[in-house]
């Protein structure tokens, strides 16, 4: 008798799940704390939904690669990618295109940060003294946390990171990189300058212990990318509308959370330098 009641309960609970209209879905590379991303992209989804008049859903993922794979598999039609992940995604989905980037993304930077125990002074030149320390990147697929810092390490120190440093790690994201340097688990790390600035502003990092020791030259980074077949699925002109909405986005709260001052047009060609760099260090097969 109890068994039957249990069964009924389970079935009743299940009937509550019904599918609605096909939603427009997007994802973002998980470059920092997930709770931040959830709140930010939840707002973006609401914003888009109001203006597109189509259900919009944000699909959270656990890794940069998973974001690209979801895009490739058409599980999401749009994504907020970094420079490298955007290039990778467009290689796999040939007719997809970059729509917009943050104004700051045209001149993005990586900061090298160091724990006080590393004893490296801030400088304008590449800090060669970091050789022999322990070093952490961000995600394996990150532009600011992996590609650009590795490029400069190879260029300035003449060897791949695993030969230059005592230990090399991949923290997974920029929040984690900051936490790892802050705790002294690694002496030196490479971090997205925007995430660093926000962390400092919000007092989440002890700047007595951790400081920026070098800033890379600027390079293009984050951008929105849309699949080429989105118009087929959501009606012609859909891509243009989304692009338009993004470029006109003025919601202070959302822009601040990114954090970007505004979105500006972007094209696939803007990311040629990233593509070349990735080839050079062997992260992207020819």
């Amino acid at each position: 008798m109890r068994a039957r009641q249990c069964a009924l309960l389970v079935l009743v609970l299940l009937t509550g799940t019904a599918a609605g209209a096909e939603p427009f879905t997007f994802t973002a590379i998980p470059d920092q704390n997930e709770s931040r991303l959830m709140s930010l992209f939840g707002k973006v989804a609401d914003y888009l939904q109001k203006r597109l008049d189509t259900p919009v859903r944000y699909v959270p993922v656990k890794s940069y690669a998973a974001a690209v794979t979801a895009f490739r598999n058409n599980e999401v039609q749009m994504a907020w990618f970094g420079g490298l992940s955007g290039v990778q995604a467009r290689r796999m989905v040939p007719d997809s295109r970059a729509l917009a980037q943050g104004a700051e993304d045209r001149h993005f930077r990586t900061y090298f940060i160091a724990h006080e125990k590393a004893d490296v002074e801030p400088a304008d030149e590449f800090p060669e003294a970091i050789a022999g320390e322990t070093f952490t990147f961000g995600s394996k697929g990150s532009t600011s946390g992996r590609l650009m810092p590795e490029f400069y390490i190879r260029q300035e120190l003449g060897a791949p990171p695993e030969e230059v440093f005592e230990r090399v790690g991949f923290s997974g994201d920029h929040s984690r990189t900051i936490a790892l340097i802050d705790s002294g688990a690694y002496a030196v790390g490479a971090v997205n300058f925007k995430v660093w600035q926000t962390a400092v502003e919000e007092g989440r990092v002890n700047t007595d212990r951790v400081q920026v020791i070098w800033k890379t030259p600027p390079y293009p980074d984050y951008h929105w990318v849309m699949r080429g077949d989105a118009d087929e699925r959501f009606g012609s002109g859909f891509t243009a509308r989304v692009r338009d909405i993004l470029l006109k986005l003025e919601d202070k709260e959302i822009l601040q959370a990114f954090p970007r001052s505004e979105f500006v047009p972007a094209s696939n060609a803007d990311y040629q330098p990233i593509r070349r760099t990735a080839h050079q260090i062997g992260l992207l097969a020819e």
């Binding site: 598999n73 952490t136 790892l180 690694y186």
Partner: protein, 494 residues
């Protein structure tokens, strides 16, 4: 004086060999605690554990339901597949196939299926169901092999094989099948939770977030819910409810793919084809490619995997020998044992992957957290099994001192079983060690993860195949050693 030939001598030599290998591994391993202040982090963790926050996770119910749904469907698929394979267990090809699919960890299967079936329930179900089919095949196959052949022989001449199987073979082992299925469901719940770490929406998804961001109260709450789910399995896993649960699981998370059409073909004919061949190169280029992959990734990966696994095996043995009296009626008193039992169950329930993840955060990156996690989890399991086995021993003489009793009465009697449990677990330790690479410990999984992160699936696949070969080798080694030492194979240890 004549040469000493004792069974205990054989055990001692085998133990010495393994301990020596473990010590060498410890000498080679990177054991640094690089985190400046592990004490402070540990304190925050402890504080979180005593102040669980059950409200911090949104959509907790959904995550719980999805975890259950993946586990039920995965076990159903695994049992059905394993059952079919078990019917052909006499064929070496089938045994090899089953051994190969179970040598690939659920998380690696998950990463593979993410490419083909996307972030869908099907990925979760297949990631559990496929390796479990291999495990079920082995266990079912062995049950059937050991079952009494006489009833089938006594059937009237001319009875066809299908009828014979269902009337005179299957009923002999049905109860064992059922009990094993229930145990596998517990394992599947762990696996389903862990699949959250690669993005499937199970409990592990939120656990990863919580622990990574230092939300220990939230993490603790998720962990406790998980403990409760597994701890109460006996209460809710009623035989008659299984079909209902399975139906509910299929309705909640229909095992459908969210990958595009042709994703399987794309994966098989493009993604995993070695890059030189794909780009029109020949076998010579492929040879160079393979050699490079071997020296730069496979070799260090295999070496590190062995180092971590052997060190973990030694520590597991030490821990198990120290802890098994807690689960044995020959030592301590009843309330003490009950408490110890609870602690053992909790550590056993915590997946080693999750344990390693948390220890990495607390202690900082090195091999130490991985070794500790593997040894804690496995050590407790072996201690528990050994302690349970010691129940069957009647002490001949009542040594009043606990240590004397331990050394002279109990240990010599449980030792062969302890050794068998340990060797049996070695294969599982290797499997888990490889997968710890996903967390950054440079075992084979680290390079496999890189393959997936850089969309070089061809490399990832070669490395996964190497992982499989390593697993098969360790399995063979452990089997040979068990046979040499004339140890009974305890099926419950799997």
């Amino acid at each position: 004086m004549s040469a000493v030939v004792t069974t205990a001598g054989h055990w001692r030599r085998a133990t010495l060999l393994l301990a020596l290998a473990g010590l060498v591994a410890f000498a080679l391993a990177d054991l640094s605690i690089s985190r400046g202040t592990p004490g402070a982090e540990l304190q925050r963790l402890a504080q979180g554990l005593i102040t669980p926050d059950f409200t911090a996770t949104d959509a907790l119910g959904e995550a719980l339901a999805t975890t259950l749904a993946f586990a039920f469907q995965g076990v159903a698929l695994g049992a059905a597949g394993g059952f079919t394979l078990a019917l052909l267990w006499h064929r070496p090809g089938v045994r090899f196939f089953a051994a190969s699919i179970r040598a690939v960890h659920e998380l690696f299967w998950g990463l593979i299926f993410l490419q083909i079936t996307g972030l869908s329930p099907l990925t979760g179900v297949l990631a559990i169901g496929l390796p479990y089919a291999g495990i079920f095949a082995k266990v079912f196959g062995e049950f059937l092999e050991e079952a009494d052949p006489k009833p089938a022989d006594a059937l009237p001449g001319g009875t066809n094989p299908v009828t014979t199987f269902f009337t005179a073979r299957l009923p002999l082992v049905w109860d064992q099948f059922r009990a094993y299925g229930a145990y596998r469901l517990e394992c599947a719940l762990r696996a389903a939770a862990i699949l959250g770490f690669i993005g499937l929406p199970t409990l592990g998804f939120h656990m990863e977030t919580a622990f990574r961001e230092g939300g220990y109260s939230q993490g603790a709450a998720l962990l406790y819910i998980f403990f409760a789910l597994i701890g109460t399995q006996r209460l809710w896993l009623h035989r008659r409810l299984v079909p209902v649960y399975l139906l509910a699981a299929v309705l909640w998370a229909p095992p459908l793919s969210s990958g595009p059409d042709g994703a399987l073909k794309r994966f098989l004919t493009t993604d995993i084809v070695p890059a030189p061949l794909r780009d029109g190169g020949g076998w010579a280029e492929s040879g160079t490619w393979l050699a490079e992959l071997g020296t730069q990734q496979a070799l260090p990966g295999v070496a590190n995997t062995l180092v971590v696994a052997l060190a973990a095996l030694l520590l597991t043995g030490v821990l198990a020998l120290a802890l098994f009296p807690l689960a044995s009626p020959h030592f301590g008193h009843r309330p003490g044992r009950a408490l110890a039992h609870l602690a053992l169950v909790m550590v056993r329930t915590t997946p080693e992957f999750l344990l390693a993840f948390v220890l990495l955060i607390v202690l900082g990156p090195s091999m130490l957290p991985g070794i500790l996690a593997l040894a804690l989890h496995t050590g407790v399991i072996v201690a528990y099994l050994t302690g349970r086995f010691s129940e069957s021993i009647r002490p001949q003489r009542g040594y009043s001192q606990a240590l004397t009793r331990y050394g002279y009465e109990i240990l010599p009697r449980v030792y062969p079983n302890f050794l068998a449990f340990l060797l049996y677990r070695f294969e599982i330790i290797i499997r888990e060690t490889a997968v710890l690479g996903l967390l950054g410990i440079p075992t084979l999984g680290f390079y496999i993860d890189s393959g997936f992160a850089e969309f070089r699936f061809d490399r990832a696949l070669v490395l996964i195949i190497i992982t499989v070969m390593m697993n098969l080798a360790v399995d063979a080694f452990s089997r040979i050693l068990r046979r040499r030492l004339r140890l009974q194979t305890p099926a419950t240890a799997y």
